[in-house]
Amino acid sequence: MHTIVKSATRSLTIGHDQPFCIIGERINPTGRKKFQEQLRAGDLSAINKDVADQVAGGCNMLDVNMGVPLTDEPVLLAKAIKLIQTLTDLPICIDSSIIEALQAGLEAYEGKALVNSVTGEDERMEIVLPLIKRHGAAIIALPNDETGIPATVDERLIITEKIMRTVEKHGISLDNLVIDPLAMTVGADPEAVKITLETIYQIRQRWGLNMTLGASNISFGLPHRHALNAAFLPAAMSAGLTSAVMDGRTAQIVDAVRAGDLLLGLDPWGGNWISKFRAAQLAQAAATAEAQHQ
């Protein structure tokens, strides 16, 4: 199954036979007080650095969330998307839980977006899916419903199956569906990550769907989070995860993903791995020469 997303000029394929898709999580005001204040004042300039850092870090796609309380989120999201598309040609993942914001984002976006996200709640799906269909976008769906976040693998699979049927009923093909198997912190439940990994494995085996999740969630409330995130991602990739909304600025985590690509046969003969090493080597040599020159 291939999920194809596009910017105005670039196309990206997500799939089990593709290198892992790193979706940069940084453009999100949650927990960033200063960024929130700037956005509330209509100042989007901080996004320039966020884009540059994440592109340099090796992201394949950028998540854009403008969820600032007490602002006009649809307007803000549309503005941010337009700005980002002048800064990079990476495809964008439009992230909001407000339908009007998703709509405004889709209208502002040039290309084929990935939309983050819809839940398995009937009411939500009936509003969001026609929007996805109309814009020819791809959609991330979470297997939780009215009753809450399912604690077991089986419940998550049952809701996933329901989502698949509803998506198809709306005339959207399953390659445009990306399931978020729900990643919760292992800090609050020792079994949380095991359940996520098993859900990923089962979805891969049964339906071969593409999947993504908020990878940084798994380490919430714990110290030394980078190491946990870096350990989690290759394990999730091995189970069948094909992308993640994640920290794409920390070399330790990005390297773990790219190592995972190579080890799992998704970077044949280490082409990407070796050229990344060479680029770093060249940059290092240039820096040394520069230092000696001075």
Partner: protein, 221 residues
């Protein structure tokens, strides 16, 4: 073991979240003639306060807070009927729920633990709590404080809806209302007309205690 040794051990074992040992020491204390409120107020609550302080400083992490809370809960379940017999007063009653449309509960549960740890009686009415359910629960439990949790910018507006419903039911003056959750700010809490807000679990306890004290002072004078 002397009473003081038991209290000291209870404090230490609660701090490290050793649930079986905390329960054993609590039962031992009662057998040795200690009062349930001494065990609660001289060991368990101070220990959870220390957990909260360490968490706030960044010295303690979420799992440590959770197991300390669980250890205390085990002891509390044993003590509760005894406390009721002796007529000991609780710090206050706290009704807690995650708003309608929202299923997130990790933060809410942490706050519950810290509140229980501070001696509050916590009534948790779960996630996806509709406005009418908040109203019904207030009528049933008559809490001092109602806490509402929301994790999403889309579900935060439910605070206002809930407060409106509580007001309409004529209950607004009877309860203190606190709000919290990842995207919530003091400014937002003010806008929706809440009485209190806190950014983390141990601050929530402090705010809750302050608000109750203020309320009781008003009633007295």
């Amino acid at each position: 073991m002397t009473h003081d040794e038991i209290l000291k051990a209870l404090f230490d074992e609660t701090l490290v979240g050793n649930a079986p040992e905390v329960l054993r020491l609590t039962q031992l204390g009662i057998e040795e003639g200690m009062t349930p409120s001494s065990i609660l107020f001289d060991a368990l609550i101070p220990s959870l306060e220390e957990v909260g302080a360490r968490f706030e400083r960044g010295d303690f992490f979420v799992p440590e807070m959770l197991i300390s809370g669980k250890a205390m809960s085990g002891a509390l379940n044993f003590l509760r009927p005894l406390l009721a017999l002796t007529g000991a007063q609780t710090v206050g009653t706290f009704l807690m729920g995650t708003v309608k449309g929202d299923v997130h509960d990790i933060g809410k549960n942490l706050v519950n633990i810290m509140l229980e740890g501070a001696g509050f009686e916590v009534i948790d009415i779960g996630v996806q709590v509709a406005p009418e359910k908040f109203v019904a629960a207030i009528q049933e439990h008559k809490p001092d404080i109602v806490g509402m949790s929301a994790f999403l910018t889309t579900t935060m507006p439910m605070f206002k809806v809930n407060i409106h419903e509580i007001t309409k039911a004529g209950l607004r003056d009877q309860v203190i209302i606190m709000v919290g959750g990842a995207p919530v700010t003091q400014e937002y809490a003010d806008v929706v007309g809440a009485d209190g807000f806190a950014a983390d679990a141990s601050t929530a306890v402090r705010v809750a205690k302050d608000l109750i004290q203020k309320r009781r002072a008003l009633v007295t004078f």
